[in-house]
């Protein structure tokens, strides 16, 4: 956090030329909400714009946008929904880009369950349920399944799998100790607010297709300077450094 | 007691239900208390509801004292008819006190001078001690008195009482009879009193309308109806009765009896507290309690012997009994005796007989 602020100082001069302060309503996939809030406060300190973040699942936010929700930009948990919006009257063409790449971690509330690497931890896993996000609903769930398949563990685990509706729910199952072991987002496991809650080990991004999270400018925010600047802010060096520190990959 | 100064109620209405239809086309002269009598399920309550305007599906005509309540496309809703209705179950408003129930009616009785004042009505129904009570804890008799008072305070021009005494025991009924009987004179409102109890009819009403299977089958003075003279067997619902209007002439205190005069002949009946010489009483005699003799009997326990002339003999072919009507100084007394006795005594119309009364019930001072 302090690293982020110090790096921001030199950015202030670049961005403070915005004289017209505006407000924007940004829809953010829940899994990115905590990171987005930190980026938001940096953004508001370095510009005069105001940004209000609204969290929700990517699917719900998408449905709301298609039915007239007054959001100016959309930070999704996948690429699919921003792509659909970009090709519809609700999104602004050519405004879509990948702002973060999600990574997975094998996590547990009991430190002894987590071994030197994921493969080892899985091989010696305790009996009982194993949590992942629902592959049908959450991109993290789909990637979790692919990773387990690549590690040749899927068939051994399949009968023990419990599904969280979202990666947030999956994390709750693991962090509360209700499930001994599960796959969560690396960003959750690394979150300084929860670092005590779980032990974790990264799962290599080579084991699954990358979880690309795309952002798109929405028609409602087409002329909204705050929304446009916020999307730009996601790609500046200081934000990218922050995202890397938070457990995301960047392009 | 002539019908000429009564108020006219015209009803022409036909309502069909699955298993019953009400079909009325009558003009009734209402004065004092008119009984609406008949077996259960005969349509008595249905008819009252039509009169009150509670049955909105009923077509036809209902007019009372020159005012049309319904006729062709006209339908005056219940709350605009000047008719009071006392229900069998009282229907007091549970969220209000006794006084609250009474004021509910008074407050809605329209502008202008109140014919029936709050104090008068409370007085007439003896409700002073109940005014501040909640209605939930009232006894059955108290509830009905409150219901009647409440209805009177809505200043009705016609009062409908739908078996208001059905839930009361005999003693409570006897207490409330005089109160109801006095209402028409005290407040100038005719009453239609529904009952299927013969004793209530006899004690309260001056005339009776008999309703059977949805039709009015008879309409006459109470005396005539109960003596069955005008019915000719069309009603099987009750035993033949006779009504004797008598006057108290002497107190036989040591014997706990009073001597009464019936059109010149004398009878002795059990004494009741507070009966004064000169008081008019109505006696109800069941036909089964009447014995006939062709000669004046001697040495019998029965003390009440009247002489009269047989006017008709009505044998019931399905039973051992016949009803013999005897004219006693212009009043009719019915006796139920066996067909065998009719033959053995060679009874026939015009024959002089002695009427022996074993028992007589008597209750209210006559109207």
């Amino acid at each position: 956090m302090t690293k982020l602020t110090s790096r921001l100082c030199c950015l202030l001069c670049v961005l403070s030329q915005n004289v017209n302060a505006e407000e924007a309503l940004i829809a953010v996939a829940t899994n990115f909400f905590n990171s987005a809030k930190q980026i938001e406060s940096s953004f508001e300190r370095s510009t005069q714009h105001q940004v209000t973040l609204v969290s929700g699942s990517t699917g719900k936010l998408y449905a709301q946008i298609r039915h007239g929700a007054p959001f100016d930009a959309f930070l999704a948990a996948d690429q699919e929904r921003p792509r659909l919006l970009e090709g519809s009257p609700f999104g602004v063409r050519n405004s879509r880009f990948t702002f973060a790449i999600g990574q997975l971690a094998l996590a547990s509330a009991s430190p002894e369950v987590i071994k030197a690497d994921a493969q080892e931890s899985l091989r010696q896993r305790p009996n009982g349920p194993f949590a992942i996000a629902n592959p049908a609903l959450a991109p993290y769930g789909d990637a979790s399944r692919k990773a387990l398949q690549s590690l040749q563990q899927w068939s051994a685990l399949e009968g023990d799998i419990v599904l969280g509706e979202s990666v947030g729910q999956t994390f709750a199952m693991v962090a509360t100790g209700n499930v001994q072991l599960g796959i969560v987002a690396l960003s959750q496991a690394m979150n300084p607010g929860h670092s005590n809650a779980v032990s974790y080990v990264r799962i290599s991004t080579l084991l699954h297709e990358s979880i690309r999270q795309d952002a798109v400018l929405l028609s409602h925010g087409k002329d909204n300077l705050a929304a446009r600047e916020f999307l730009k802010f996601l790609r500046v060096e200081v934000t990218q450094a922050f995202l890397l520190d938070s457990g995301y990959g960047v392009e | 007691m002539s019908a000429s100064n009564g108020k006219k109620l015209t009803i022409r209405s036909r309502i069909d239900y699955a298993d019953f239809s009400l079909d009325i086309d009558n003009e009734l002269q209402l004065k004092g208390v008119t009984g609406l009598f008949g077996p259960s399920g005969g349509g008595k309550s249905t008819l009252l509801r039509v009169i009150a305007g509670l049955n909105q599906n009923a077509g036809g005509q209902v007019s009372f004292a020159e005012t049309d309540w319904q006729k062709e496309s006209l339908f005056v809703p219940a709350h605009k008819r000047q008719v009071g209705y006392v229900f069998q179950d009282a229907r007091l408003f549970e969220h209000l006190s006794v006084a609250g129930n009474l004021r509910f009616a008074l407050d809605r009785s329209g502008p202008g001078e109140k014919n029936n004042s709050f104090d008068d009505v409370v007085d007439a129904l003896d409700l002073h001690s109940l005014l501040n009570r909640g209605v939930a804890k009232l006894s059955g008799g108290e509830r009905q008195r409150v219901a009647i008072a409440r209805t009177m305070l809505s200043q009705p021009e016609l009062l409908l009482l739908d078996e208001p005494l059905a839930a009361l025991d005999a003693d409570r009924k006897r207490e409330i009879y005089p109160t109801i009987a006095a209402l028409p004179d005290r407040f100038g409102v005719p009453i239609i009193f529904v009952s299927h109890a013969v004793d209530e009819m006899a004690q309260l009403t001056e005339s009776v309308v008999v309703l059977e299977a949805g039709r009015i089958v008879a309409e006459a003075s109470t005396e005539k109806i109960l003596s069955r003279d005008s019915l000719r067997g069309s009603i099987q619902a009750f035993e033949a009765m006779s009504v004797l209007d008598v006057t108290v002439v002497e107190q036989l205190e040591s014997l706990h009896l009073v001597r009464v005069d019936h059109r010149g002949q004398s009878l002795a009946i059990p004494s009741h507290a507070g009966v004064q010489n000169g008081a008019a009483l109505r006696l109800l005699v069941r036909a089964g309690d009447v014995v006939l003799a062709t000669e004046k009997p001697q040495g019998l326990s029965v003390r009440n012997i009247l002489s009269g002339t047989i006017t008709s003999i009505d044998p019931n072919p399905n039973s051992a009994f016949a009803v013999v009507s005897v004219d006693v100084d212009g009043a009719v007394i019915n006796a139920q005796i066996t067909n065998q006795a009719v033959q053995a005594l060679n009874l026939q119309s015009g024959k002089n007989v002695y009427v022996l009364l074993k028992a007589a019930s008597f209750d209210r001072p006559g109207a």
């Binding site: 929700g56 007239g68 | 509670l54 709350h79």
Partner: protein, 223 residues
């Protein structure tokens, strides 16, 4: 101490919804209790439908029905200048439908158990139908009204799926307390979630306790 704005928003929403439903639900319950119409079971079934559909699905259909492109949504925009979805008004509309059975069913059964008898008595005492309704039916059905209002209020406070869909979780406008708690949980901000949940539970318990205590006293005093 977390931001309490969602709590006040929830209270406002539940209060407005309860008042609107008292006004709309009472005549409906009255009609259902007294009609002999053949379409009564149809209307009863429709009234109970909000109990069947999952709230988020119901919310999704509200989005479709109330959106600015629809007749209803367009009418609302014409009249008020604002879209119905993603606004407080939209939440009220959705909550009214969602909580409808909680208002109508207790009222209907109260009216049915009261029956026509007291109303007929009132009519023969010169009370017009409207007069009889307010002076007889309402006081005699007061328990039904209290129950209906409490259930509607509580149900609306706890409402989540519909509001999340129709309202869009906009702070200060449509982020009610249930959504705020959910968001805290989903974003792993458990401390804030616990706080808000505790505030909500204590508040709800206090309100429900007071109402039931009052209801009991009411019964004793009048009965």
């Amino acid at each position: 101490m977390p931001d309490l704005a969602p709590l006040w928003l929830s209270l406002a929403l539940a209060g407005v919804t309860t008042v609107v439903l008292l006004i709309l639900g009472t005549p409906l319950a009255w009609w259902l209790a007294h009609t002999s119409s053949r379409i009564r079971p149809v209307i009863e079934a429709v009234t109970a439908l909000p109990l069947v559909l999952p709230p988020t699905v119901l919310g999704f259909y509200f989005l479709i029905i109330l959106g600015p492109g629809t007749t209803i949504g367009n009418f609302w925009v014409q009249v008020t200048g604002d879209a119905l979805t993603f606004s407080f008004s939209g939440l009220v509309v959705a909550s009214v439908v969602y909580s409808l059975p909680f208002m109508v069913q207790p009222l209907q059964s109260a009216f049915e158990s009261m029956g026509r008898a007291p109303l007929e008595a009132a009519a023969t005492l010169r009370a017009s139908p409207l007069d009889a309704f307010f002076s007889v039916a309402v006081p005699l059905s007061r328990h039904g009204f209290v129950t209906a209002a409490v259930l509607t209020f509580a149900h609306t406070i706890g409402e989540f799926g519909v509001v999340l869909m129709v309202g869009g979780n906009i702070p200060g406008k449509t982020r009610v307390i249930s959504i705020a708690i959910y968001e805290h949980v989903e974003t792993l901000n458990y401390a804030a979630a616990h706080w808000l949940s505790a505030v909500l539970l204590v508040f709800a318990f206090t309100v429900l306790f007071l109402v039931y205590a009052l209801k009991r006293r009411l019964a004793i005093r009048v009965g």
